[in-house]
Symmetry: C2
Subunit: 217 residues, 2 copies
């Protein structure tokens, strides 16, 4: 009999990354199953033994990517919390947490550029159930970053409004995610240079609550 149902169990990582590489360049709707079959060296119907549908493939790429990012981030956050419990008055660790999170993000980004591009392109073509699952992972990840930012602000700029903290965390996300977004430019320096700049700009930039500015008119 048939009854293929869902073989969501597990799909080889190399197939997933090959598909992601193609989708990163052409987009989800712009990439056909026949394209994917050709570049993975398989036949069209052979592909369907590794995932239930094209939409399922998109979900698997998203799920695996965000899970990796999230587990790294939560591990760093938990290490920070344990450290703080041991020495409650830590004012330097909080900057270290922020720096470690940025480093982990940029490193992962530079090593899985194609998958990351797929993650940014959006969740819309997914079923409500899959979309919700991915959205929850995104939320948890951005919560970790917001937490780190709020801890930093609590030390270096106490009394900052919650909304301002979230806005600044969002801008930090912007710097971290944009880099590999527009063109595929490799002339922007090493991931290490990038991390240094992002960390420096953000931490120093947040210290001045109201900008010391002159207006031109």
């Amino acid at each position: 009999m048939s009854a293929p149902a869902r073989q969501v169990a597990h799909c080889p990582d190399d197939i997933l990354s090959q598909c992601a590489a193609l989708m990163a360049r052409q987009g989800y709707h712009g990439t056909s199953m026949r394209d994917l079959a050709r570049t993975t060296g398989r036949s069209l119907s052979g592909l369907y033994h590794h995932f239930a549908s094209k939409e399922d493939l998109l979900y698997l790429i998203n799920e695996r990517g965000f899970s990796s990012l999230l587990s790294n981030a939560e591990r760093l956050r938990d290490a920070y919390r344990a450290e703080v419990r041991r020495r409650p008055a830590g004012t330097s660790e909080v900057a270290g947490l922020l720096r470690d999170l940025i480093t982990a993000h940029v490193d992962y980004f530079s090593r899985h550029r194609s998958e990351m591009r797929v993650l940014m392109l959006g969740t819309q073509p997914m079923s409500p159930a899959h979309g919700e699952a991915v959205r929850r992972l995104k939320q948890r990840y951005s919560d970790v970053l917001s937490y780190a930012v709020s801890e930093y602000m609590a030390v270096y700029a106490p009394g900052t409004a919650r909304s301002e903290v979230e806005r600044k965390a969002w801008l930090l996300f912007g710097m971290m995610n944009w880099v590999f977004g527009w063109y595929a430019v490799d002339e922007l320096g090493s991931p290490r240079d990038l991390t240094t700049d992002i960390f420096g700009i953000f931490t120093q930039g947040c210290l001045a609550s109201s900008p010391v500015v002159t207006t031109s008119e």
Copy 2:
């Protein structure tokens, strides 16, 4: 006779923005000409009297959006140059230019969110000629921003390497463009708040050349 050739001349702005709104949500390949015809209240073949092809529509959206952004930016840059010519030792105007550019970008972004989302989604589905034209506009726009950043760095952190300036300009782009990218969250504050934060973080953040950091390990 037929001979429709290319009626690239001009297509009504309202049609373009309606199409952009749909493409912003579903992507280029995910939006069919029939979808576009339905939401613009026209018939399928009626649409083809306003642009030559679907790809041409994408080009028109890109061309019009980047041209608007670019003309605003170049106007601000030229005003700054004229000002500097009159009073050569201007150290405050350079920050003003940066602030004005950010303000213009965020304002335009918040007023044409759909079009901007289309602009970010990529140039790949376009013909070589159209792709080149759009890429040139993008380049000119990012050149203006890089120029402003390099002027700022020349005053406040002289001797900064060219590659570092470009990297920092890129990060500024990240903060400006990411905001409306992921979720459609309106709870991040007004465009004015956003501009203030971006300007503050960037200008203050660039002042410290090497980050004053402690490492956690």
